[in-house]
Amino acid sequence: MTLLQPSSPHVTSRKSISSVMFWVINATLPGLAVLTYFYGWGYVINALIAIATALASEAGVMALRKRPIGRTLKDGSAALTGLLLALALPPMAPWWIMVVASFFAIVFVKHLYGGLGQNLFNPAMAAFALVLISFPLSMTTSWATPEAISGHALPSFTAQLKNNLEITEFDGVTMATPLDHYKTKIKRLTAAELSKSPEFKQGPLYAIVWVNIAFLLGGLLLIGKRLITWHAPLGVLLGITILALPFSADTDIAIPISLHLFGGATMLGAFFIATDPASCATSNRGKFIFGLGVGLLTYCIRAWGNYPDAIAFSVLLMNIAAPLIDHYTRPRTYGKTKPLKGYKLPENSQ
């Protein structure tokens, strides 16, 4: 009789990468639905293009590396990257922006660093930064306008598809994002005057706020399913709040704290981007510091930088800092009085 002698444990929870990715993708769906409701089919079309490109790029890399293609595609990580890109990029953006971004995210940011789990940077955010810097015009003039503001009906699925494929252009329905809009207009107007402008006149619950609430709910679902911890998201929101409290106190000169927290990509960034495990810090404390850094940098770039939104750059900068954070945020293990810090083993450790 030959007995197998595998190492313990002999049972596992039978979780899989694809089940983790599946739940993260599910958690973005409320956000995608609200985006589509307010801004039209652009996000869905972009998601289809980005996911298709991501899968094709990953398959290509796997073929080049002579690795099993089906097994890798099935894990769902490439699809998630494509989806996050589509959620972050403007809905009216031409198709090739999605293709370039998605291809860059998968091939350069993910696989050239070694593939799944090895990427130093968040693939979606690195690709976002690439297309933002490379194609600034398309990136700033492709944001859709909700029906309530423009007074025009949202384009139909086919019209939107034709627009994004650059067959016929859909004119007159793009606008600056609320963050951008507020930032530029507040230089000339008071907050009271701005609140009467078409962008903000619907009251406090205008489109982007609903979108952020949807992403917040999706994020809470992930925390509830224990797929992410609360540390990084709380860090991001706290980081923004810490700077917003003093510097955004006067809404006649600065973007108000409510718009900082519920405008732009804040909730998407806090719950779906800053929690990317591969490029984030490792320990819970590390994740919190990582998130805090993202939040502080986001506020700084939004308030005093040139870019209307800043999640991508803050995340990339904190990605660089993540290994350093790791060395100084090891948890205190059972039976030790304090955690070990730094790079070198203490002399008397053994």
Binding site: Q5, P6, S8, I17, G117, T229, D326, K336, S349
Partner: protein, 598 residues
């Protein structure tokens, strides 16, 4: 503080399916006696005991058969009445499948359902009046070692090296499938309570806290009733939430008291002794009834077992015999692994000849469907689920990267030595990475490197000392040489001053004389043949043969004594034999040439 109802919550932890229902519904049963038992002299990781019986001896159940000179060796008792048929190496309960010297006993009367018992240990019903030292000696004499975990000899915990204030009784049994302690608590609560009182007396501790997980309501009520019955204020029962691995010694201490055992130390450093309920039962049996440790409760479970349950099994019963008794043959193709212990921390056996040991709390024989092979590992996505599950607050994914990149220093920075190998990280891993295996490998490599560093340091010191010695020798030689040179120079200067030519001539004469001697010698060698006489050649042969004989005697003596001169003598013998041969050949040639018949 521990008096309060407050519990501290386990850090991390997981909830694997319990699978206890298969085995905890049937009462404890005795398994029939096997034909033979195999008792490894080494029962734990400790030092092996030495046999006090010889092959062919007749022994009765409970008779002492091996005793340890070292305190960490546990005593062994015969677990069958019969004949010692062998004392030889036999595979034992260890994942590596190594063999250790074992005493093998064959049952004398195969038809009897019971056997005779040794009665050298008398029952002590009055243990409360006996001195603590006597109790301690009884625990040692009964061969009791920890039945819950590592199998450490129990009496060591009671030597009183450090003051103990609280006894923690471990009735947690957090591993899935295992229900041995559960059944024991349900059916023998009173004995366990007596065991606790014995332990308290030996430790002179003020309190005992019994910890049981809330998934064992029957055991909880049995223990509660037994505590009420003895009306002992020192005993406290604490029911803790079910979560793996709450039963780990250090984890349990934290849950019950909020105190953490310092890294690398034992609970006694904080004044605690932790004892498994099975061990306390065995202590009660040893003290009150004079029963040495010859059997224990083993959970037989897994889908391959037709009648899962808990059985009293004699220590040393080979596992194939156990399987046969519960209607399983090892030829069953459905059996692909036998796990000793639970599914989280148990180890797989190399074969079914392994005997049940004092630490065998469970034999888990799953079917392939129940525990399929581990799927191929996917890449680590650093999701951190392992980190949330770790009961020691390690960063398992970091340790994994350290392991595959062979960064042993980094692994130590990430506190690999604090890993308790509970398997919670592997259990949650969505990439199915065998994390614990990686950690065991890392720990072994760190240990190996440490040993090598010590060795390297020793050889470095040896080398440096040798260098110093050689340098010193060279320096001394140099001083001597210089002294000689100075002497010679002095002699030269004396010679030059005197201008004596006689010295010169005498030296020349000496040289000439030596040259002449050398010539004469050479001539004599060349002319050996014509000059040779029969007598001289015969004499040479005799002398050579005598020398050979003498050396042979010396060599034999050296070999018998194992002296280091053996090699030198061997070469010398070879040379002498050659010389004798040459002499014989010379003699033969001479006789041939001269035709001398004599």
């Amino acid at each position: 503080m521990s008096r309060s109802d407050k519990l501290w919550s386990l850090v991390g932890g997981v909830h694997p399916p319990e699978n206890k229902g298969q085995s905890n519904r049937q009462p404890l049963q005795h398994l029939p006696l096997s034909e033979t038992v195999v008792l490894p002299l080494q029962q734990s990781n400790g030092i092996p005991a030495e046999p006090t019986v010889a092959v062919g001896d007749f022994v009765v159940t409970g008779q002492l058969i091996a005793i340890g000179k070292h305190p960490i060796a546990t005593r062994l008792h015969a677990t069958l009445t019969g004949e010692v048929i062998a004392i030889e190496d036999h595979v034992f309960a260890h994942p590596s499948g190594i063999s250790v010297p074992s005493i093998i006993i064959k049952r004398s009367d195969l038809h009897a359902s019971t056997d005779t018992h040794d009665s050298s240990l008398e029952p002590w019903y009055n243990w409360e009046q006996l001195p603590v030292d006597a109790l301690l000696m009884r625990i040692e004499a009964a061969g009791i070692s920890g039945l819950g975990g590592a199998g450490f000899p129990t009496h060591i915990k009671y030597l009183g090296q450090r003051p103990i204030h609280t006894l923690i009784v471990n009735g947690i049994e957090c591993e899935p499938y295992i229900t041995a302690d559960d059944r024991l608590m349900r059916e023998h609560a009173a004995e366990i309570i007596t065991g606790i009182q014995i332990a308290l007396r030996m430790l002179s501790a003020q309190e005992a806290i019994v910890g049981i997980e809330d998934n064992k309501p029957e055991a909880i009520s049995a223990i509660r009733t037994a505590i009420t019955a003895v009306n002992d204020a020192r005993l406290v029962l604490k029911v803790i939430p079910t979560r793996y691995p709450s039963g780990g010694e250090k984890q349990l201490l934290y849950i019950l008291t909020g105190e953490e055992v310092p890294s690398g130390d034992i609970p006694a450093s904080l004044g605690y002794v932790i004892q498994n309920v099975g061990t306390l039962f065995a202590m009660q049996q040893a003290v009150q009834l004079g029963q040495p440790l010859i059997e224990r409760v083993v959970t037989l479970t897994g889908d391959a077992v037709a009648a899962p349950g808990n059985y009293w099994i004699r220590i040393g019963t080979p596992i194939d015999a156990v399987l046969e008794m519960v209607g399983l043959t090892t030829q069953d193709t459905d059996i692909q692994r036998i796990i000793m212990g639970g599914p989280m921390m148990g180890f797989t056996l190399p074969n079914a000849q392994v005997p049940v040991s004092k630490t065998t709390n469970c034999l888990l024989i799953p079917t392939k469907q129940e525990m399929p092979d581990n799927p191929e590992a996917d890449p680590c996505i650093r999701c951190g689920l392992c980190e949330q599950a770790c009961p020691v607050s390690l960063l398992p994914q970091k340790l994994y990267w350290n392991a595959i990149n062979r960064e042993w220093d980094q692994a130590q920075l990430n506190s690999i030595q604090d890993c308790i190998e509970c398997g919670a990280c592997s259990w949650v891993c969505p990439s199915s990475i065998p994390l614990v295996q990686h950690y065991r490998f890392t720990k072994a490599e760190i240990k190996r490197e440490a040993v090598e560093t010590v060795k390297a340091n020793q050889s470095r010191i040896r080398f440096e000392n040798r260098q110093l010695r050689l340098e010193k020798e060279v320096a001394e030689k140099e001083i001597k040489r210089q002294a000689r040179a100075a002497q010679a120079a002095q002699a030269q200067s004396v010679k030059a001053q005197t201008g004596d030519t006689q010295l010169d001539t005498s030296a020349k004469d000496a040289i000439l004389a030596s040259v002449a001697r050398a010539k004469a010698k050479k001539n004599s060698q060349v002319a050996v043949e014509p000059k040779d006489s029969l007598e001289s050649l015969q004499g040479a042969v005799t002398v050579a043969l005598q020398a050979v004989e003498k050396t042979k005697v010396k060599l034999a003596a050296a070999q018998a004594g194992g002296l280091p001169s053996v090699t030198a003598l061997t070469t010398a013998l070879e040379k002498l034999e050659k010389r004798a041969q040459v002499a014989e050949v010379a003699l033969a040639t001479y006789i041939e040439k001269t035709g001398d018949p004599s």
